[in-house]
Symmetry: C2
Subunit: 298 residues, 2 copies
């Protein structure tokens, strides 16, 4: 047995109104925040988008690990009861370190998505679409095969999906004020479909029956990806699954917000264009983001 000193055994609080901390390199993590808001409408959320240093993909894992430590610390200082690393690259780079550092539970998006896929596949052939960095980290393959050694994982880097999702959001018609009616509308240009077909063809040929959307941007492209893969393929959203895990952790720790607690959403960005974040973010979050504050971490 380890010889470290025992910590205090605090009795379980029945409720905890503190917010959940969520962060990403930019907007993608807002799909996780959206799923949280849907599944846990009483929970407050503090969201930070590290737009100033976006994207994380091309950076070294060590550098991104440093960002995770810094942002996690900032969220913990703001009194969050949990931290969700809503970015696959940051999860691969810094999850374990963050779990060892911070006094609150920290989860990433990889394990929840991997677990859902391992449970869902019927033919033991699971596909993963993700950024190049995530595919190269092998994080999903390892996590899925850790749960079920009988599953073959087929991973494909689909770097342009981030750009397509962002373009599609920008091109969605109508003024920002109408964002709720645009809820699931990401504009799909024919050119986007061609790109998707090319990316996804190897996974179709491989006969996967389950496909993990291994980037928090990709749930925005569910219609596009699902259309190409066909209805018999189950799409797994890491964002939805991460929100489910948050719910389970809060339930197990009796740490839900009170029944009469009014959820508050706070948005921060390290970037300078607050109006851009507000407008674009509202469409991803599917609720009006009234104010965004700049935070200087860099």
């Amino acid at each position: 047995m380890p010889s470290s000193a025992p910590g205090p055994t605090a009795p379980a609080p029945a409720f905890d109104d503190a917010p959940i901390g969520v962060f990403d390199s930019g907007f993608g993590g807002l799909t996780v925040a959206r799923e949280l808001a849907k599944a846990l409408p009483r929970e407050s959320i503090v969201y930070l988008g590290d737009s100033a240093r976006c994207p994380y993909g091309p950076r070294t894992l060590q550098e991104v690990d440093g960002f995770v430590q810094q942002i996690g610390g900032w969220l913990v200082d703001r009194g969050v009861k949990m931290v969700v690393i809503a970015c696959n690259t940051a999860t691969a780079a810094g999850l374990a370190h963050a779990q060892r550092t911070f006094p609150v539970p920290v989860i990433g998006v990889v394990e929840p998505g991997a677990r859902a896929a391992a449970h869902a596949t019927r033919n033991n052939r699971v596909g993963v679409v993700a950024t190049k960095a995530t595919v190269e980290s092998n994080a999903y393959t390892k996590a899925i095969r850790h749960l079920d050694a009988g599953i073959t994982v087929f991973s494909t880097a689909t770097p342009r999906f981030v750009e397509i999702a962002e373009q599609g959001i920008r091109m969605a018609e109508g003024p920002l004020e109408n964002y709720t009616s645009l809820a699931s509308k990401v504009y799909i240009r024919p050119a986007f479909e061609e790109i998707a077909r090319e990316y996804l063809e190897p996974l179709r040929r491989a006969g996967v029956d389950t496909l993990v959307l291994g980037c928090t941007h990709f749930p925005l492209l569910k219609a596009l990806i699902g259309g190409v893969m066909g209805r018999e393929v189950t799409l797994i959203s890491s964002s939805t699954e991460a929100a489910r895990d948050v719910a389970e952790i809060l339930a197990r720790r009796s740490a839900y917000a009170r029944a009469d607690h009014e959820a508050r959403y706070e948005f921060y960005t390290t970037g300078d264009d607050l109006e851009e974040f507000r407008g674009f973010g509202s469409r991803v979050f599917r609720e009006p983001i009234d104010t965004v504050a700049h935070v200087d971490l860099v």
Copy 2:
């Protein structure tokens, strides 16, 4: 990407009335079967207790892996839609191999229990009680720290708990016909409490706030173990958690039994004393086991 040939992508069946296969070296796995029957009352179960070769603990992992292959194959031949390895030693020895071998999902009891503990702990100090073989395999420590690298795991081998559970079941008063009234009554002798205190003292001193019952026999001792650990310590039953995982897998695959399906429970043992299995097993399963059939695997 792997180059193996694509498998057929079968459309998801809406329902599947096939039974769930459950096995253990003896009676312990009946706590898993009991939790399954409680959580999923429409599901049929085929249970095999490998009493002729019980206990698995002192055997080599290679030998136990062979048993898992043999029993898993027997269950698959009986048409089960899933296999639950309801034994920690057998999970450590043969889960991955079984997942690679059998055409149906195979789960063990370690990962579900580890996951529940990682989600439940508030002070990041988790205890595990298990047989010597399970503790030495480090299976729980690895599984818990894979999910949350910030958790310290304190494991203690409690070999006599199996014997105490079985003695306590035998000593429970009243005729077998009254087993339902004995449902949660495992007779606790004062000597049992002394043994439990001695085993659990290091975990109490370590300040764990969550304790995994890492052997399928141990849920029978929940009252004894909980009494010694105190109410502020959350007890995690691997049996309950494994049943939850089965439910999730069936839900994700649309493989539940039909709403009007009448569950059938079949019990088999490799041992010779069918009456002993029937009487003792009924008390663990908490439902009358009408017939037990001998099966010759050895």
